[in-house]
């Protein structure tokens, strides 16, 4: 299973593990839901991060983001001690004692005055299961409110809802191994090549080694689509129509598993009837989905004729006002063919966060109680007894969007946000931000001193441990529980989240929060999962309820369920029925007629899709610190089809103002055929910390799926127009600067500098004044060209450049300047070399394609021209693509386009 690259990494990591620096720590990556194992070590030379060759999620591989984890561990900007907002608006350090006391008292006071539903906790898929558990126990068992929700609501609530409806529980039937042994993989609404690179590599290896086929269904021609045998560029919102059409086709061609349907399911006939109304035939499917009949036919035929088929899906399915229906439309086809929970045959949801699954297991969502139990009387009673809880909540709480609406309406008066940034990530984020300002009491537990949420008037900041410092468990997309272990010293006064929740609970006077360790919490969590379970609930890790502290420390990755008495966890569910509905049968759920929550209109004629990019994760609090990761796509951007660009006057690499009914952003326009006509795409990663006017959440419509409560984040009606600035350029600084209002900027982590891309209408004089204010000396060198309006200014502290500004009529490249800026001793005419924008020492390598080895496009193009005709050949020559493989599709398409240009194709 191990390829050469992995072996190299293994050897390297073993060297390190046996070296004088001590053993490497086995932990898991803090990014997406793949949950890759990581070997981490830390010494005076910094952190060393490699893939864990023994972890079954990744077998030693890491993607570009995981590989760069070592660059993200600095303490710059960290919240290191509790802080309280003073009356003048500034934050001041306070003691933990005061912080905990104040939190407990304010919550108690507000609950006593307005009832338990006047308080809420908003959690994060990046919290550990133990953190989730204590927060959930406190709220639902003792405070007595189910106003506990999480950013996972924005990410995978529709999958939860769809699985609950079909299976009677939020159960992931399959596992990653299915991707290795499937003969057909269908990816729906998933840019796995960028967002789940390690799983995508497993699919691609299956393709190469076993000849598996890959079909990609997406509205955008993504990097993932580039690797597909068949790409279906579907009309947005029409996934149900495609899968309803498939269901009809399967029934018509007798590809269904009648025995499975008969023995283990119910509602098939109704599902067929409903699907027939929507898509009686391929032509009808074609009409709705906007696909070519031949492509639809080929997809149906391949699906029907391939026993081992995995349909993996992600945000393109979930983030929809009909996301639950989309999930069920997919599951229907797997139920109908009995291809579920069998090797290489299953639906598989790809989760976006490292522990969204753990949150679901705990029940850290407003519509679940605890440990995969709902609000039925039996469950409520069971949980009350297990917790000895006086006031277990008996009804669902408010889901994320509704929760912030209740805050806006003043119904919720106290909020505790933990490890997430709703002022950036929620739909209609400006309204969420305004709502938070109205709170009577607003506490934030986080790693950072400043983000959009904290700056929305948080009264109290509680410093939490970050990845590498905290210890506990996470669950990945295949139900695999892995340990996250600390390998860094805990900085300042930071504490684990579970311990903060416990301390507040104790001060509120509640019993049952005397946890001494994460292991303590985990045992109780495992105990609850097994409590009066008797195989009635899918989530049961009773086998782990008696772990000693040492066992917990050594815990190997294990899948749930892992029931007491069993030697190991279970790989798959439902291959032979055993659903968690009252009658034990799976349900076919008929999707409603596809429709969008919003309509395009004359003022907003386009639809705005949002998503991730390859080298950033969420709001960049961690990835944004890595110079390597900043290189791929350094600026917030909007992808737009050439025809739309022409119609709206937007130019490639120009700036564009994107607006919706809810907000507006200014983004770099990327004109690309990959984007369908009528639809634009913008990434979610930038916030007010990293850019001016690029907080995409502010543009997203707040309409949700009625069942899952997940917002339709990928189809907001939008307008686009060119946004002209007199000049563009960049600023290199040693530390973050405070820009004057009205300037467009975005921050990029660089080696030895903080970089800002800038667009500006300011005059030279205004800029010089700004630089003077930001500078500690008045020592500067300056270059101006009145005609081209070029302005380049470097300010020095001794021989060390402190600030360097470069402005001109077009965007200015900064690679050469950065190489000089990075020098600490510049003397004589070298000082002015910085102004030339050129450096003999650095060669312009073009945009970075392979982040792992820092290989640029120009180098790769040259190698292709010199005869490297395969990705392997490129890998041998330049090492590009041989580590994380995230860039292989890009390299492949470079080879293809060169061959096309050469007339070979």
């Amino acid at each position: 299973m191990l390829d050469d690259m992995t072996k190299t990494l293994v050897e390297e990591s073993q060297t390190s593990a046996t070296g004088s620096t001590g053993m490497a720590t086995r932990t898991t990556c803090p990014y997406c839901g793949v949950g890759c194992g990581v070997l981490a070590s830390f010494d005076d030379n910094g952190a060393r991060i490699v893939g864990d060759p023994d972890h079954p999620a990744n077998f030693g591989r890491l993607c570009s983001k995981g590989s760069a984890l070592g660059e993200t561990l600095e303490l710059k900007g960290r919240l290191l001690y509790p802080m309280e907002r003073r009356s003048d608006g500034a934050l001041a350090r306070i003691s933990w004692d005061r912080a905990l006391e104040r939190t407990a008292q304010r919550f108690k006071q507000i609950i006593s005055e307005h009832g338990p539903d006047a308080v809420a906790v908003y959690l994060s898929g990046q919290l550990l299961t133990e953190d989730y558990y204590v927060a959930n126990k406190l709220m639902k068992g003792f405070i007595g409110s189910a106003n506990v929700d999480t950013n996972s609501r924005l990410c995978m609530a529709s999958t939860v809802a769809g699985q609950k409806r079909a299976f009677g529980a939020d159960t992931v039937p399959g596992c990653y191994e299915d991707l290795d042994v499937a003969d057909l993989v269908v990816l729906v609404g998933s840019n796995a090549a960028w967002c789940h690179p390690i799983l995508f590599q497993r699919i691609m290896r299956n393709k190469e080694e076993r000849g598996a086929r890959l079909i990609v269904i997406d509205t955008r021609r993504t990097a993932t689509a580039e690797g597909a045998d068949l790409f279906l560029q579907i009309a947005p919102g029409m996934d149900q129509a495609l899968f309803a059409g498939l269901l009809i086709y399967l029934a018509r061609t007798a590809a269904v598993d009648a025995a499975y349907i008969d023995r283990f399911t119910s509602g098939f006939d109704a599902a067929i009837r409903s699907a027939k109304e929507l898509t009686p035939n391929i032509a009808a499917t074609t009409a709705l989905t906007g696909l070519r009949e031949a492509d639809v036919g080929r997809f149906f035929e391949l699906f029907a004729s391939t026993e081992r088929v995995v349909t993996a899906f992600s945000q393109g399915v979930n983030q929809s006002a009909q996301g639950s229906d989309k999930v069920n439309a997919i599951i229907n086809c797997h139920l109908a063919t009995g291809r579920i929970g069998k090797p290489g045959a299953s639906p598989l949801s790809l989760t976006g966060q490292p522990n969204a699954m753990g949150g679901r297991e705990v029940g850290g969502l407003a519509n679940s109680l605890a440990a995969h139990m709902g609000f039925d009387p039996a469950s409520i009673d069971r949980v009350r007894r297990f917790w000895s809880a006086p006031s277990v909540v008996e009804h669902e709480g408010l889901k994320a969007v509704a929760m912030f609406e209740a805050i806006a309406q003043g119904k919720i008066k106290a909020l505790w946000v933990v490890g997430t940034n709703p002022a950036a990530s929620l739909p209609d984020a400006d309204r969420a931000r305004a709502a938070m300002r109205k709170l009577d009491f607003f506490v934030v537990s986080d790693n950072t001193r400043s983000n959009d949420t904290i700056n929305s008037g948080a009264h109290l900041l509680l410093p939490a441990q970050a990845w590498g410092e905290k210890s506990g468990t996470v669950t990945n997309s295949e139900r695999r529980i892995s340990r996250q272990r600390a390998f860094l010293p805990s900085p300042g006064e930071a504490r684990p989240d579970w311990s903060i929740f416990s301390a507040v609970a104790r001060r509120m006077g509640y019993a049952g929060f005397d946890f001494r360790s994460a292991a303590d919490v985990f045992r109780e969590h495992a105990g609850l999962s097994a409590f009066e379970n008797d195989d009635a609930r899918d989530f049961d890790i009773g086998a782990l309820a008696q772990l000693t502290d040492a066992d917990y420390e050594e815990l190997s990755p294990t899948q749930w369920p892992h029931r007491a008495g069993e030697a190991k966890g279970r790989l798959r569910f439902f291959g032979d029925g055993g659903f968690f509905t009252p009658d034990g049968r799976a349900r076919f759920v008929s999707p409603k007629t596809p429709s969008m929550a919003t309509q395009v209109s004359k003022p907003f004629p386009l639809r705005l899709n949002t998503g991730r990019i390859r080298d950033q994760w969420h709001t960049m609090t961690r990835t944004g610190a890595s110079p390597r990761l900043g290189r791929h796509l350094p600026e917030p951007f909007v992808d737009i089809n050439p025809a739309d660009a022409a119609e709206f006057g937007v130019t490639h690499q120009g700036l564009a103002r994107v607006s919706t009914r809810w907000g507006e952003c200014v983004l770099r326009a990327h004109v690309t055929e990959a984007q369908p006509r009528g639809h634009i795409f913008a990434p979610i990663h930038w916030t007010d910390e990293t850019a001016r006017q690029a907080r995409i959440g502010a543009l997203v419509a707040p309409y949700v799926d009625p069942i899952s409560g997940q917002p339709e984040a990928k189809a907001t009606p939008a307008a686009i127009a060119p946004q002209a600035y007199a000049r563009e350029g960049f600023l290199l600084a040693r530390k973050p600067v405070a820009f004057p209002r009205g300037e467009w900027w975005t921050r990029v982590a660089l080696a030895g500098a903080v970089g800002y891309r800038i667009a500006s209408d300011r005059t030279d004089q205004e800029w010089l004044a700004f630089l003077a204010e930001e500078s500690s000396t008045d020592d500067m060198v300056e270059f101006r060209d009145e005609q081209t309006r070029a302005l380049r200014v470097a300010r020095f502290d001794g021989d060390r450049p402190e600030l360097f500004l470069s402005l001109g009529q077009t965007a200015q490249p900064w690679d050469a300047s950065l190489a000089i800026f990075a020098e600490n001793g510049l003397a004589g005419s070298q000082r002015r070399a910085l102004l030339s924008g050129r450096s003999e020492a650095t060669s312009d390598d073009g945009p970075e394609v392979c982040v792992c080895f820092g290989v640029g496009a120009k180098k790769i193009q040259a190698a292709i021209q010199e005869g490297c005709g395969t990705t392997n050949a490129i890998g041998e020559r330049l090492r590009a693509g041989t580590n994380c493989g995230s860039c292989l599709t890009e390299i492949r398409s470079m080879i293809l386009s060169q061959r096309r240009a050469g007339g070979e194709l």
Partner: protein, 413 residues
């Protein structure tokens, strides 16, 4: 091909040159190279010394060049060139009709061709006390000796005039040990070569060299009974001084030509052939006025000398004026200025500066052409810029590289 030398000898023309400075020397040099022996050349000079490089006098004052270094050509060279040198004598009048020049001893020389290379003299301000003992100019070897003595005696010396010459004099004096003050009536130094920013930087750099600079200082009177005691300014201030050096400008020595009836404006008016209003009389150097322009720099004089030599040798050449450039010779304070250094309404500027390192560079571009340049502190590329200004080459394609790496700069490196 050239005519045999014997032929010329039979009817040798007599060439008389009045003035024995740099222009005259260069003319002889060029002419002898082109047409050796064609003329019987006589050189008339007021100074006794061999013709010397006046430009180097500042360096001599500052002890950065030796006296011997300034001599342009040794006596032997003049002999070999067959030139008759008349030294310490003054030409009193020219008679164009009879083609004769009368010297101060009454002796007359006849000429076939006469060249005026009389140069210019320092202007003294028309203020009270301007003729007191202790008031100097900075023009010739005698001045250098006098100023050198003042410096060595650590006297208080006030130099009036913040142009090229005044700066060099004040710097030289300061370097020698004098308490050197530079007064300039305008609010910035070298205003005819520098813009405000370049001048301000120059002022700072010169002050760092020990010269006290006072701008906007209008001299109203030089005080002293028997000799200089101080300088009074328009604002009433009094500056104590043991000596005053005038460096407020030069005036072409054109009186001789005027008295001879030649056309004279500021200088001796010449055409593109350097010919005065008399077809046998020519003028070059600082005494000449060409296209309403009198030059005070050596480069135009040399260009004129070359053109005139070519013509006198029977060749075809024309002088169309010079693009002038200024080089300040103050050690460690390099200043270059050329062309339209300010730039008019249609011009745009490229500026690069490093205040701490004392560097200010400005290029002026009009249309597609480089039309002017100021370089202070770092004068690298000066000759390339001058060449671009002279040729009027299209620089639009190299605009972005113009300040930092001109192709020729790189080749030279």
């Amino acid at each position: 091909m050239s005519k045999p030398r014997e032929q010329w000898a039979m009817n040798k023309e007599r060439l008389v040159i009045i003035g024995a400075g740099m222009a005259a020397t260069r003319l002889v040099e060029e002419l002898v190279a082109r047409a050796p022996g064609r003329y019987e050349i006589t050189l008339i000079g007021e100074e006794h010394a061999l013709p010397y490089n006046r430009v180097l006098l500042s360096s001599v004052l500052a002890r950065e060049a030796a006296l011997d270094d300034v001599v342009l050509k040794p006596a032997r060279w003049w002999q070999d060139a067959g030139v008759t040198r008349i030294v310490g004598r003054k030409a009193l009048c020219i008679e164009p009709g009879t083609q004769r020049v009368t010297l101060d001893g009454g002796e007359a020389l006849s000429y076939s061709k006469l060249v005026l290379a009389t140069g210019s003299r320092a202007v003294r301000l028309p203020v009270e006390g301007a003729d007191l003992p202790g008031v100097h100019a900075f023009r010739d070897l005698d001045d250098v000796r006098a100023l050198g003595a003042l410096g060595a005696a650590r006297r208080r010396v006030v130099t009036i005039g913040g142009g090229l010459l005044g700066l060099e004099a004040a710097y030289g004096l300061a370097k020698l040990g004098a308490e050197s003050t530079l007064l300039h009536v305008v609010d910035r130094l070298m205003e005819r070569q520098l813009d405000a920013e370049g001048a301000a930087l120059l002022g700072r750099l010169v002050e760092e060299k020990g010269v006290r600079v006072r701008l906007g200082a209008q001299t109203t009177r030089i005080i002293g009974r028997d000799r200089v005691e101080g300088v009074e300014l328009a604002d009433g201030q009094l500056i104590q001084a043991d000596a005053v050096v005038f460096a407020v400008g030069i005036r072409p020595n054109a009186e001789l030509a005027a008295e001879a009836g030649l056309k004279v404006e500021r200088g001796v008016v010449v055409d593109d052939g350097l010919m005065s209003s008399d077809p046998n009389i020519f003028a070059i150097g600082e005494c000449a006025e060409h296209r309403s322009q009198c030059y005070g720099l050596v480069a135009p004089a040399y260009e004129q000398a070359r053109v005139l030599a070519t013509r006198l040798a029977g060749g075809a050449a024309g002088y169309e004026g010079s693009v002038v450039s200024t080089n300040l010779k103050v050690s460690g304070v390099r200043v270059f200025s050329a062309g339209d250094y300010l730039g008019g309404a249609g011009a745009s500027r490229i500026i690069c500066s490093d205040s701490r390192m004392g560097v200010y560079r400005k290029l002026v571009i009009e249309g597609d052409r480089l039309t002017g340049a100021i370089l202070v502190g770092d004068t690298s590329g000066a000759q390339d810029y001058l060449e671009l200004i002279r040729t009027g080459a299209d620089v639009s394609a190299m605009r972005n590289a113009l300040m930092f790496d001109l192709p020729s700069l790189k080749e030279a490196a």
